[in-house]
């Protein structure tokens, strides 16, 4: 079985490009060019240089000694939280801004939920001197004020999405509408492995630097490229796609995708898409998504703003259905506790998204000899407010 995208843009039965005709030329232009652009030596050189000098890669693969002792297994943390702007998101925005330049685009748009992808996009647009417009749900703008300020400082225009539920999915709709209205000069930087083909594949390739580095680093530390487990959280699924990418065909490496269960899977306040979702079409992709009986897309909930997307990327839907990856759901309470535990044991404040992945150690027993790599996708600075309120600090 293949876990990579096929020539038609599908992962098994998931993926494709379910887009209105108005978007066809934009998406087709990207589909026809992205692989060639990414293969150009000049592109690769600029991309690699920026990842090294600007993003700060390679990020460490850190052996978490005290955490390992506590859970009696060998835990490595892939420190994506140390990337410039505080999360893995910038790996993708660096790649896409270079693609946009090669395509001759002079304007960039993006959607954002918590604001991390918006900040990462505003950052690379500032770096390249390209106009940047970020769509963000009106409700998210109110609850993520520091990231809104960051984007503005970086020169981006932040446009509130006022339609529907006024959160991430609606911001994505607004960005897509902008692209329909500006088909020639604009590139849309999607922040996750979602959307119409070729986005899921392109974003996964840009994020695959994570597992490429893990392989090299693990070889040095453990004399093998392959861990027993790779753990990553999944909202849309970009950090998980990057951490899994070079292990997809290594069937001996167990992949664990961690979703947000919110207040509990069946509480009505959850974002556990693989369990609660059904096959459908969202934002141009056939995948698993949370929806009503009637096919209306429903609003997910998680304490973590980066995990409350009603769908998952088509790659992940395929990994779920084919059982290549194991999906685990973690509640708000479990994640918050695991986040605090990492602070206390390792002196690292994780993003609440990443804290969901950390909570797996309480749910699942690993062997003493197991080598477990956990992708620490982001740092917790942006979540201080939530931590403070939750623990009454």
């Amino acid at each position: 079985m293949s876990y990579f995208v096929d020539k038609n843009g599908y992962y098994g039965e998931f993926g494709g490009a379910f887009i209105p005709e108005m978007l066809y030329p934009n998406v087709k232009e990207l589909e026809d060019n992205y692989l060639n652009i990414m293969r150009e030596p000049s592109f690769q050189k600029e991309f690699q240089d920026l990842l090294k000098e600007y993003v700060g890669r390679p990020t460490p693969l850190y052996f978490a000694k005290r955490l390992s002792e506590k859970y009696n297994t060998k835990i490595y943390l892939k420190r994506e939280d140390l990337c410039h702007t505080g999360a893995h998101k910038i790996n993708n925005t660096i790649g896409q801004i270079l693609v946009a330049k090669k395509l001759g685009k002079t304007r960039v748009i993006a959607e954002t939920g918590a604001g991390q992808h918006g900040v990462a996009t505003a950052t690379v647009c500032a770096l390249m001197g390209i106009e940047c417009v970020v769509y963000m749900g009106e409700i998210d703008i109110a609850r993520q004020a520091p990231n809104v300020a960051r984007m503005k400082m970086l020169g981006a225009t932040v446009v509130p999405a006022l339609s529907g539920s006024r959160t991430l999915k609606d911001a994505t709709n607004e960005a897509i509408r902008d692209w329909i209205n500006n088909p020639v000069n604009t590139h849309y930087i999607i922040g996750s492995v979602v959307g119409p083909h070729p986005y899921p594949d392109m974003v996964a390739r840009f994020q695959s630097v994570i597992s490429e580095e893990i392989k090299k680093q693990l070889q040095e530390k453990e004399h093998t490229e392959n861990p027993d487990y790779v753990i990553a959280c999944v909202g849309g699924g970009s950090n998980a796609a990057g951490a899994f990418y070079h292990y997809l065909d290594e069937e001996k490496v167990n992949l664990i995708a961690v979703e947000a269960a919110g207040l509990g899977i069946h509480s009505g306040e959850s974002a556990a898409t693989s369990i609660l979702g059904k096959e459908g079409v969202i934002h141009g992709s056939k995948t698993l998504l949370m929806q009503s009986e009637d096919g209306q897309i429903t609003e997910p909930y998680s304490i973590s703003a980066g995990l409350d997307y009603p769908g998952i990327g088509p790659l992940h839907a395929h990994l779920y259905k084919s059982k290549r990856a194991k999906f685990i759901s973690i509640t708000d309470a479990e994640a918050m506790k695991a986040g605090l535990e990492l602070c206390e044991l390792e002196g690292i404040i994780p993003a609440i998204e990443s804290a969901h992945a950390l909570a797996v150690f309480k749910m699942k027993k690993f062997k003493e000899s197991d080598v477990v790599v956990l992708n620490l996708s982001g740092r917790g600075d942006k979540d201080l407010d939530t931590y403070v309120k939750y623990f009454k600090l």
């Binding site: 494709g16 490009a17 379910f18 887009i19 209105p20 005709e21 108005m22 066809y24 030329p25 006022l162 339609s163 529907g164 999915k169 609606d170 709709n173 897509i176 509408r177 329909i180 209205n181 500006n182 088909p183 020639v184 059904k278 096959e279 459908g280 079409v281 969202i282 934002h283 141009g284 929806q291 009986e293 009637d294 096919g295 209306q296 897309i297 429903t298």
Partner: protein, 254 residues
Amino acid sequence: MNRINQKLQENKKLLSIYFTAGFPKLNDTVSIIENLEKSGVDFIEIGLPFSDPLADGPTIQASSTQALDNGMTTEVLFNQLKDIRKTVIIPLIVMGYFNPMMQYGIENFCKKCAEIGIDGLIIPDLPVDVYNNNYKAIFEKYGLVNVFLITPQTSLERIRFIDEISDGFIYMVSSASVTGSQNAFGKTQDDYFKRIADLNLKSPQIIGFGISNAETFKQATKYAKGAIIGSAFVKYLSENGTADINKFVSSILE
């Protein structure tokens, strides 16, 4: 012959009106359709509301949100329409997004449309190739015309392909935009309308997006077979309710 194709053969410019089912009130559907027909509209697009209508502007999105809040569902709409052919003879087209139809089951959906007397479907986010490979046979089995869109950016080669597989009309999007964004057409659009007319396609073209009044209707139908009004009518309904639909229609046809 399908009612749509019969209508397309009439020697006149055609006016089609879109409305969102379930808006302004849940049970307005039948009376809106009957009043549109009485007012002289040539065919009607019944919008099946969706939570995330990507190709639509704020007016239609807001009406969809309201319709869903009012309780509109696929099943409710089919129930409202079950006797529609006892009173209405003009072509009826359902316009909606793919996900709700997929959840209903594409074959079930088509079967139900055929039973009711729906003549065609417009599904903006069902790509031509996916339709062609997976669903064409089902649509044909139930005698439904599937309508495809072209835009000013659509390549000539693709226009020819879409013309080839279309069996009704081509829905010509007036400009690079979502629904409802225009007040008047400029030279760019006029050139585009003429360029497409000069291709002598086998499928007649009906222009939509941005038609809002008598002037834009006249501009659009200078070259095309007809035009579709959506947002402007939905806006009219939200301001005036369903009482004076004929006033709106006669303001377009003058």
